[in-house]
């Protein structure tokens, strides 16, 4: 078997791969199989963010042209397009989307990520990411104002002088207003983490939550 063609083909080739597939893919798959994957509509009805409404008020003409009214439909549409741009521009190669339980990450960004947060179509394929050139974004919602993001996408160094993030001029129209893609990506970014109960207080904007409460039972 060890040196025969069929041994190599069937045991090493098919067999070992199959084994790893069972352990490393099918197993986690079945663990979460019972959890429903939310579609865009279900995500939208969970709550339209303040920032989406704010975009509509700030850029009424442009908003009307691109998305019409503020509604569940337009919100889910914006999320979809924003997510698409996030993937296409490879934002996920510079930004992760999970907060780890180590290295003080919960102090920096907020609650540690939970598996069920990722059971939705906007995490398909999942956007965990592997490199943090910029900060994690899974708790980005409401951390910054829309205006900040507009300035940031136009010229990141204008708000963060040491930034090495690219400027995304094509998220803007000829007059310098965010275009459809621009509004969509801001909507998407401002939505990340908005589903948490702690939102938006994990940014320390609420009463006294900047320092996390001592863990119960911690000695």
């Amino acid at each position: 078997m060890f040196e025969s063609k069929s041994g190599i083909f069937f045991v090493a080739g098919l067999g070992f791969f199959g084994l790893s597939f069972l352990v490393m893919a099918v197993l986690p798959w079945t663990i979460y199989a019972g959890e429903k994957e939310l579609d865009l509509n279900e995500l939208a009805v969970r709550g339209i963010t303040h920032e989406f409404v704010d975009l509509a008020e700030r850029y009424p003409e442009q908003f009307k042209k691109h998305f019409g009214e503020v509604s569940y439909e337009s919100f889910s549409e914006a999320l979809r397009i924003g997510h698409r741009a996030y993937v296409a521009e490879a934002c996920w190669h510079c930004h992760s989307q999970f907060v780890r339980p180590v290295s003080n990450e919960d102090l920096r960004w907020g609650p540690v990520s939970h598996a069920l947060e990722y059971q939705n179509v906007l995490q398909r394929p999942v956007l965990f990411g592997t490199r943090r050139v910029g900060p994690d974004l899974i708790r980005e919602a409401a951390r910054r104002s829309n205006d900040w993001h507009v300035a940031h996408f136009w010229k990141p160094t204008s708000v963060a002088p040491a930034s090495v993030m690219p400027s995304y001029r094509w998220f803007f129209d000829a007059e310098g207003y965010p275009n459809k893609k621009g509004m969509a990506i801001i909507t998407y970014i401002q939505w990340l983490g908005s589903w948490l109960e702690e939102y938006p207080y994990f940014h320390g904007e609420g009463p006294d939550v900047a320092a996390p409460a001592p863990k119960e039972g911690a000695s």
Partner: protein, 480 residues
């Protein structure tokens, strides 16, 4: 390789007289040229992206030059352009010579050649036009995925049929090739279709990790080691030291390698017991790797002069040293202790460059240094340039590796200590500058090589029309 292999089973006279017709030299050369073309492109893309990190991006604000998109051209260009093409070229040389049979169908080979170039070019085009898929190394736009899969299946058929028809014991290299063909198909199908269409969320993260890792472990690694088991004994003119260790190496790799994928997402929302499992198998892999390394270094004992006299051997063994380094690094960085600090930092980027370029890139470049004079029937235009190529590339890679390693530690500790994000960027900047310069060294090295290949091709002797080209080659490749 077994003693049955390089020397014994096939009388040398027979081998040389049939090899000329067995091997389609033109296709080997075409693959190598395509591979070098994408290598140049991928390196330029990487260089461009590195300028972004110095706040000196030359094409700021132009959509087609979006740095993130070029970053994907860099990684995909290396994997599917440079590495895949170079492997296919080398396989078209090695497999017919080891099986004593041509590939299943030469027309099919050419069809695959052109189809693969179309796939790679459309991948790059699709990425630049913003059609990426959110899967590391699987960014290939979704409409190309099925085509690429068909391509891989055809490749497997073209090579597996002659391998299946051989009699008697198999070369070790062929064990690796057989396994690699089947694994590549399975891995590609799993990685590109499951997370996109069937599985979502954290479970898809597990599959994504499996995919990135298997692409290295089950496509690139077995083909790379297969080539080493083929080239090293031939060039050194002696069998591989221990057949037993060859067996241990192959089966150990086959068993443990696929079980490590989740180590890419430690401390992630993937179930912790699976993460622990992946840590253990990753450390086990290091033991297996050590056996392979011992086997190859015992093989060269007594022939150490080859490191000086044979350029391919120098590339191969430097790559093996790097291989051992990266794998040793794996065994540490996979531990949860290391992960706290180094995950998400440039440490990992340094690691990736050492694996993909320092190991497999080196092996493939070494193979090219061996193959190109043989397929062109011409001596190297300039052995001196070859030597410059080696030293610039080797030093550049080493500098990049250590630079990013340290950068990663600086970043990791600053983040843990809750430094302001901008401060961690300021601290990283000098490292990124060094990284760009080491990249320029590598780039210059490659361009010297391209020039050398071009001149070798240009001054090759004309192919005589009467006799088939004599496959008798200078016994030692051009020396430095």
């Amino acid at each position: 390789m077994t003693t049955l292999a390089a020397s014994g089973a096939i009388p040398r006279s027979l081998e040389t007289s049939v090899a000329g017709e067995l091997v389609d030299r033109r296709i080997v050369f075409s693959y190598l040229v395509a591979s070098l073309f994408y290598l140049g492109l991928a390196i330029l893309a990487g260089f461009l992206f590195s300028l972004q990190f110095l706040q000196r991006y030359p094409f700021e604000g132009i959509e087609l030059f979006s740095p993130g998109r070029w970053r994907m051209v860099h990684t995909n260009g290396v994997a599917y352009g440079f590495i895949a093409n170079a492997f296919l070229g080398a396989l078209h040389w090695a497999v017919p010579r080891m099986t004593l049979r041509p590939v299943l169908h030469r027309g099919l080979s050419w069809f695959i050649f052109w189809a693969w170039q179309v796939i790679v070019v459309s991948t790059a085009g699709g990425l630049l036009l913003g059609q990426a898929q959110a899967l590391e190394w699987g960014e290939t736009p979704t409409w190309i995925d099925p085509l690429a899969l068909v391509g891989l299946i055809l490749v497997a058929i073209n090579f597996l049929v002659p391998i299946a028809r051989t009699q008697g014991p198999l070369y070790v290299a062929l064990w690796y090739f057989i396994a690699a063909f089947i694994w590549t198909i399975l891995v590609y199908a799993m990685g590109n279709f499951l997370p996109q269409y069937f599985v979502g969320g954290a479970a898809a993260g597990a599959i994504g990790g499996l995919f990135i890792h298997d692409l290295v472990g089950l496509f690139v690694t077995p083909l790379g080691w297969g080539l080493m088991y083929y080239f090293v004994p031939i060039i050194l003119r002696k069998p591989v030291w221990s057949h037993g260790l060859s067996l241990v190496g192959f089966w150990g790799l086959a068993f443990f390698y696929p079980l490590t994928g989740i180590h890419h997402f430690l401390y992630s929302p993937i179930p912790l017991f699976l993460q622990h499992g992946a840590v253990v198998t990753t450390i086990a892999i290091e033991l297996v790797v050590t056996t392979v390394i011992i086997n190859f270094f015992m093989t060269i004992v007594g022939r150490g002069d080859a490191l000086r006299t044979s350029m391919p051997i120098r590339w191969f063994y430097t790559g093996m040293v790097f291989y051992f380094t990266t794998c040793l690094q794996c065994a540490f960085q996979t531990t949860l202790t290391f992960q706290k600090i180094i995950h998400f930092t440039d440490w990992v980027v340094g690691h990736a460059h050492l694996v993909m370029f320092g190991v497999f890139g080196f092996w493939l470049l070494g193979s090219m240094v061996y193959l190109i004079p043989r397929v062109l029937n011409a001596a190297w235009y300039s052995p001196v340039l070859n030597s410059w190529h080696f030293w610039l590339t080797a030093l550049g890679t080493l500098i990049m590796f250590f630079d990013l390693l340290v950068a990663g530690l600086v970043q990791g500790f600053m983040w843990r200590d809750l430094a302001h994000w901008d401060d961690s960027l300021v601290a990283s900047m000098p490292f990124w500058l060094v990284r760009t310069f080491s990249g320029i060294m590598i780039m210059v090295g490659q361009f010297l090589f391209f020039y050398n290949v071009y001149m070798t091709w240009r001054w090759r002797p004309p192919v005589s029309t009467e006799a088939p080209p004599t496959p008798v080659m200078p016994q030692q490749p051009a020396i430095a």
